[in-house]
């Protein structure tokens, strides 16, 4: 699957607004599920993609001078590029050639403001949740700024951290930030239909929605131009769902697949989750990835449900396969025993035949659940071969 990965703030290619000093500017989406010492790439989605399509300048910004919070994401994308899995496109150029369309889309969207109230409310809830998860990371960046400033003056680390502070802590240090007032007013407007009728609330709501929808529309147009699905920040999902609903689509197919991978890795087999770049590359370069993707497609179509029952049945079948393979190996050992008596070459020949025939038989027996064996092997290699719960 080819997939477009969005660049945050890409709609600004058409406007005078700029948040170029924000660490998020031009950055790809990150995982909302886990935030460790830095933002994490969305491995659940990347494992489904053979090829990633990205904006060229955004990619350069990401890999050349990432903020510390983005260092892990940058490593992953660098590795994907080295493997030839990143295709770079000039997004601003595509947007500029569709400027009129984007303007019409935005005007159309803004005509019925109230239809966006629920998506915006849901979006802000998701965002606040993510912000709550990652706030500790942001605080660390701030402390690092103070430390770096004290030690090295305006060093590179301080400059990077300053960009973070400037935008993320916009309100924290400046009481009069326009965005802060807007957001405050919008929070109240979202809670009260009565307030939404009043100009002092409706105007901020319009402004915030305009910013959200300009970005959402830009990604829809890019996706359409490139004729591929796209992956964006999770908190924009409610907007896309509303957009897709109006054209008779339930959900973005890429999002559905991604959600199913997440379910597989959180509900059914958390021990097998792909959680780092090395594991991702191993999976992408393994032929059995096709089996995993087929399983995910089946789940999207509702043929499989990734629950605890699914996990139990897979494990039971795998154990049965293992027993059958063990029995076959033993039988093969008896059958090849006479070869061992041939003088000089007997024992090595017996071993070679056992291995060749045994591997082929085992492959046939374990043909089911190839994806499971692949993920188990990757998980085992990343834990140094220590035993896993599935065995």
């Amino acid at each position: 699957m080819r997939l477009m990965v969005t660049s945050f703030g890409i709609e600004q290619a058409l406007s005078s607004t700029s948040d170029g000093d924000s660490i998020f500017h031009g950055m790809p989406p990150v995982s909302f599920r886990s935030v460790n010492e830095a933002f994490m790439p969305d491995f659940e989605l990347l494992v489904l993609c053979d090829q990633i399509v990205m904006d060229g300048s955004s990619f350069d910004r990401l890999v050349d001078s990432p903020a510390r919070a983005y260092s892990g994401v940058a490593d992953t994308f660098r590795a994907l590029r080295d493997e030839g899995r990143i295709e770079l496109v000039d997004f601003p150029h595509l947007l500029r050639s569709n400027a009129d369309l984007l303007e019409k889309m935005l005007d159309h969207d803004m005509r019925t403001l109230d239809q966006w109230v629920v998506p915006l409310r849901e979006s802000l809830t998701m965002w606040r949740h993510f912000a709550g998860m990652s706030m500790a990371l942001w605080r660390d960046e701030r402390q690092e700024l103070h430390g770096a400033s004290a030690d090295h003056g305006a060093g590179e680390a301080a400059m990077r951290s300053h960009a973070l502070v400037h935008e993320i802590a916009h309100l924290m240090h400046r009481a009069h930030g326009e965005a802060s007032y807007l957001t405050f007013a919008v929070e109240e407007a979202l809670d009260s239909a009565e307030k939404r009728k009043r100009r002092e609330y409706r105007q901020p709501l319009r402004e915030v929605l305009r910013a959200y929808l300009a970005y959402v529309n830009a990604n829809l147009v890019l996706s359409n131009e490139l004729n591929i699905g796209f992956h964006d920040w999770l908190d924009f999902t409610p907007f896309y769902s509303m957009k897709f609903l109006s054209v008779g689509k339930r959900e973005d197919p890429a999002r559905e697949g991604r959600d199913q991978v997440e379910k597989l890795f959180t509900v059914a087999f958390p021990d097998l989750a792909i959680g780092d770049t090395s594991a991702l590359l191993k999976a992408l370069n393994d032929r059995r990835i096709i089996d995993l993707r087929q399983l995910i497609s089946d789940a999207v179509l509702g043929k499989v449900e990734f629950d605890e029952g699914f996990a139990a049945s897979v494990l039971a079948e795998v154990l049965r396969s293992e027993r059958r393979a063990g029995r076959a190996r033993r039988v093969l050992g008896y059958l090849t025993l006479p070869i061992g008596f041939i003088p000089w070459i007997g024992t090595p020949a017996q071993k070679v035949i056992e291995e060749a025939v045994g591997t082929s038989m085992e492959g046939k027996i374990k043909r089911e659940h190839q994806w499971f064996y692949m993920l188990s092997e990757i998980a085992d290699s990343s834990t140094g071969g220590q035993g896993r719960t599935d065995s």
Binding site: M172, H173, R210, A214
Partner: protein, 153 residues
């Protein structure tokens, strides 16, 4: 065709980040200020709209005084019903109005938690005096103010 700028004024990242900061301050405040009375002394109260509304949303009642003199007159009447005082440092020509309020409270023996909320250089210079008079500050920015309020209430 001439390109027309979208009439978009506020960057999306600033909106999202402001939302995150507001949520963080709400979490910090929690229920600490519910039912508490805060006297806020500032000759430009409009500057404090956001932290004031956050306190009110969390259940505090916030009374505004436009000068140290007004604050003193209110405290003399009902000191026992005020749980916390937040004051700026400079008011009009008086660049140490906040210190004068602290001196009054000290002389009057009123043991009230006080936060000096100011980003003025004068307030920074007087940090030692502020602390000696038993107050917290100078506190800079709404996030630090909310953190100080939640500690003191």
């Amino acid at each position: 065709m001439k390109r027309r700028d979208h009439p978009q004024h506020t960057a999306l990242s600033a909106i999202r980040e402001a939302a995150a900061a507001l949520a963080d301050m709400r979490r910090t405040l929690g229920g600490s200020s519910a039912g508490k009375c805060v006297l806020w002394v500032d000759d430009h109260p409009g500057n404090n709209d956001i932290p004031r509304r956050l306190l009110e949303d969390a259940g505090a009642s916030v009374e505004l005084a436009l000068s140290t003199a007004e604050a003193i007159s209110r405290l003399e009447g009902r000191a026992g019903r005020v749980d916390l005082v937040i004051s700026d440092m400079g008011q009009g020509e008086n660049s140490i109005a906040g210190i004068e309020l602290l001196r009054f409270l000290h002389r009057a023996g009123m043991c009230l938690p006080v936060i000096i909320y100011s980003d003025s250089p004068k307030a920074q210079e007087r940090r030692g005096e502020i602390e000696n008079l038993g107050a917290v500050g100078p506190v800079l920015g709404p996030k630090n103010l909310i953190a100080a309020v939640s500690r003191l209430l």
